[in-house]
Symmetry: D2
Subunit: 119 residues, 4 copies
């Protein structure tokens, strides 16, 4: 079956939302656990962006790993493991004219890194 035939039951907006969700779930569960410290934040951000940009419908990926949390958690061993709380990411998906920004950021009240669609 052709790729587009799978999505005839979705509006352009719905598919852009779906692909944003897939790629945000993928990003989180692929990279959480990766060893990281302040010196390696940048190469990890670049690799995350480059890999997620390959996925269907993705037109932009902005990845920020929170330096404050990485430094705070890099103790006597000199590094830590990437956690969801450290992720501040915006993934832009586009289907025809519809553009959607899918985000993850840590919410203090929920104590949870929440994924949502930007207003």
């Amino acid at each position: 079956m052709k790729e587009d035939d799978y999505f005839k039951n979705l509006t352009d907006r719905e598919r852009a939302i779906f692909e944003g969700g897939i790629s945000m779930g993928a990003l989180f569960h692929q990279f959480v656990g990766t060893p990281v410290n302040a010196d390696t934040i940048e190469s990890l951000e670049i690799a995350i962006r480059d890999s997620i940009l390959l996925q269907p419908a993705i037109v932009d990926v902005a990845v920020k790993i929170r330096r404050d949390l990485v430094e705070e958690n890099s103790g006597v061993m000199g590094y830590t493991s990437l956690t969801g709380d450290m992720l501040s990411v915006k993934i832009t998906t586009k289907i025809n004219e519809k553009i959607i920004n899918t985000c993850i950021s840590y919410d203090e009240e929920l104590d949870y890194p929440i994924m949502y669609i930007e207003y």
Copy 2:
């Protein structure tokens, strides 16, 4: 911020699609690479289902790991690594009255494990 406040810009259907996408992307990238053979398919299917059922809006998860591919790839070492091609999964999300089934299955023509919303 309360969880529901993040989703005021989505219809119930859109949010059910979004949460289905997130959890399917999560499932794929969390578990691909896990050592598996015919004897361990069942415990891995159960752990995948149990973990994904915890995520927001998920009401059912049906996981089938393709036994034919697992056996075919378990060579002289007696096991293989889980790949996306082996996954046949349906995740059911529910927001108020809206129910969405998000699926992954391998498409031979695309040679790709495609994620889509069931018709």
Copy 3:
């Protein structure tokens, strides 16, 4: 090349140590990030044990996920992500007559989940 031919440069003890290290690194980085709460600890422990038992030279795997930390971190969302601090694992490897126990447990002084060979 046959599998054993790769290891002619190692004593039985050295190879048992090597395989224990590989499998502990594998376990950590495969499963960290998995959604978990008190109800799903058991199925996740079983799947981790079953999958790691498949790897070369492994004869036993004892997995304990720390219930106190899982409960402490399962906030308003009702679950958390598995972290290295929650892991208490012993992997037993055997090469001919040599048996080695490789462990991971959280060390408070180091604030780090350390992997080591049991005395």
Copy 4:
């Protein structure tokens, strides 16, 4: 407990072998599944090297992702998922004067990406 106190039961050579095993298992299970195509091989290689270099006792990491296999598997979707077969890696560990090279490469006869200590 101090880090070194955990390893008093190992010779320098044994500990270098142990840390090489841990980091090779970590690398495999952290990064297998990552979306990749010919254009993103380099940034992924750099991020893998930088992250594994942070782990205990690692002094060098040489990562080659096999371009032939990446291209062969990047079909109509334009990318593929990283698999163990694509990895050709050498991790160098050093404990005092003892230096060990831990390798992974695909063995055709075994049809398996084998991890071993270089002669």
